[in-house]
Symmetry: C2
Subunit: 329 residues, 2 copies
DNA sequence: ACCCGTAACTTTCACGTGTAAGTAACGAGG
DNA sequence: CCTCGTTACTTACACGTGAAAGTTACGGGT
């Protein structure tokens, strides 16, 4: 009753040729000579039948699918992540493949998803466990981890220090997160921040981890800020793990009667969509999501033996100056 | 050199049985009698070889893949969207399938993505064009649109009116968005807002559309608020398209010297992660992403002939009272 | 002694595609 | 007139899986 989807056999029948001819025409093979008349008949038949080739049989025949999987392990959204995803989608599409993103819930889901999806290459923004990497290896799916691609994860935090130092700050605080899924980003950033302070011969910075999710409250940040203010040599500037934390920090400072940037400088990271909308507008670090996406894809293509090994990625980050940092009074 | 991935034939060879036996064991078919000893041999061989069945051949043989596609046409992130995606991922996984989300860039990409992905069912949060729906129909892929699923898109906005009326407000303003990708949500909400005002016999509400993306500035909101304030009977409460707009509105009001909630009540929509963190904390509408996800999947299962037609979805929305709305002074 | 049912398998086919290998027709060169 | 190369196709197979249909071997009933 429901007519089945049309196949290349249908086209062959309609055009009065063999299936092989159809295949040669549709794949525009240069090493096969097909007369112009036949070619047009096939093309017309394909269009008439709204032919879309069957992905499964293509993948089966070709030995690999045209899918690229991006594994997203609960990374909270930011402009950067969206832009990476969008740019990757475009790049992958240019190669005739399609990027799909999979939000994984549990660790055990990976096997069944691989069995269902069978991507030709997998990418991950976060670090996969050894078991998972091993699994991908046994099913012969190359894995590209952004960790390998971005050894400069500490650079943004170092830039924060540099910028604050350039504006005369010496006693710095760092607000990071204790959210487990973010540690892959948080750990190198905190490390970079502390290391940069040492290299600039600053006093050891204060570091505090804010709770994640709904437990992050203005009050918790106020308490932290107050603790730092009540020290003999109070912090004059605080850098944050991301813009969201920085926005909360701005609110907390305001409620404590601390004037930003005069009493306290605040610096974010991400240049998220709302950064220009906070009051004062947030001075932050802009990363290069497009560059990272391009490098991620270049690495994937290398793994697919379609391109030479790309040069190591150097994180491109720069300060976006707005209004939340100035010279200390 | 690189040993190919192991297949059910490898298992059969290792276990010393035929491929059919392997298939019967691995799919645990009840209508086939397999001796316990053979069963164990096969299972052991499969484990030893790290066997993962080939998705392409399964899909080819079975006539449909085990993939569910969620089409995301540039909808900006919110807690709700993430929760819908996560809950859908879980539900779909429970059926042995996998949910993948595809961020589409251009309208023409859909064909090639379908050809590469071949989902057994497609879901879309936004409205697809007629051409696209037709395309899905010709390739026999059922489409579930959240439009069909959520005819109560106007309910949240009506709730905003109801809550503001209950707090004594009569002259209302509505801030919506002109972002094209959001009109699918914006239009019914604005409609619901205006209609509800009429039903409550309120004076006609003021409606303004804010620009999307980077053009949304505090200044643009301030101008709008000022325009409304300079009218003979100024607006006493403004409801917003979402929490993000409401947060900007809060900042704008503060800069105009308008005290929220006493001089102006502000109401958001979404109960996004930052809603409790604004000052004053945002009174907003909480939707039910899990319920929507469940209904979306129930509809998809109905289309897959695996479940009866679900009851029409009634949008479950409720007010979350915080501090940005009170009785007018 | 023969038939029949059942347990425990194996043989065989189909799914839709890409492509290597085969074939028929035709014109040119000897 | 025969061969050879080229054009324009067609035939046939492989990919890995699921499952219908077929094949043994064996035990119990008549």
């Amino acid at each position: 009753m429901a007519t089945p989807r049309s196949t290349s056999t249908d086209i062959a029948r309609l055009a009065g040729v063999s299936r092989a001819t159809v295949s040669y025409v549709l794949n525009a093979r240069a090493d096969q000579s097909i007369s112009e008349a036949t070619r047009n008949r096939v093309l017309a038949a394909a269009r008439q039948l709204n032919y879309v080739p069957n992905a499964a049989s293509r993948a089966l025949r070709g030995g690999q699918s045209r899918l690229v999987m991006l594994i997203n392990s609960g990374i909270p959204w930011s402009t950067n992540i969206t832009e990476i995803e969008d740019e990757l989608t475009r790049l992958v599409a240019d190669s005739g493949r399609s990027l799909v993103v999979w939000r994984r819930q549990g660790p055990e889901d990976l096997v069944s998803t691989l069995a269902n999806l069978e991507p030709c290459v997998a990418m991950s923004m976060s670090l996969l466990s050894d078991d998972e990497s091993a699994l991908l290896a046994t099913v012969k799916i190359p894995l590209v981890e952004s960790d390998l691609v971005a050894p400069g994860s500490d650079i943004p935090a170092r830039l924060q220090v540099e910028h604050l130092v350039a504006h005369g700050h010496e006693r710095l605080g760092y607000l990071t997160t204790s959210e487990p899924t973010l540690q892959r980003f948080a750990t190198p950033r905190t490390g970079g921040f502390v290391a940069a302070c040492e290299e600039f011969n600053l006093p050891e910075p204060r570091v505090a981890a804010l709770p994640g999710g709904l437990e992050l409250t203005v009050e918790s940040v106020k308490e932290q800020l107050q603790a730092w203010q009540s020290e003999p040599h109070p912090v004059t500037a605080v850098a944050c793990f991301n813009d969201f934390h920085a926005a909360v920090c701005l609110t907390a400072a305001a409620e404590l009667g601390l004037w930003v940037p005069d009493d306290l400088a605040v610096m974010g990271l991400d240049d998220d969509i709302f950064a220009p909308l906070t009051r004062p507008a947030l001075t932050t670090i802009k990363l290069d999501p497009h560059g990272l996406a391009r490098h991620l894809w270049a690495t994937a293509q290398y793994r697919l033996h379609e391109a030479p090994e790309p040069h190591p990625y150097v994180m491109d980050a720069r300060v976006v100056e707005r209004a939340s940092v100035s010279e200390p009074v």
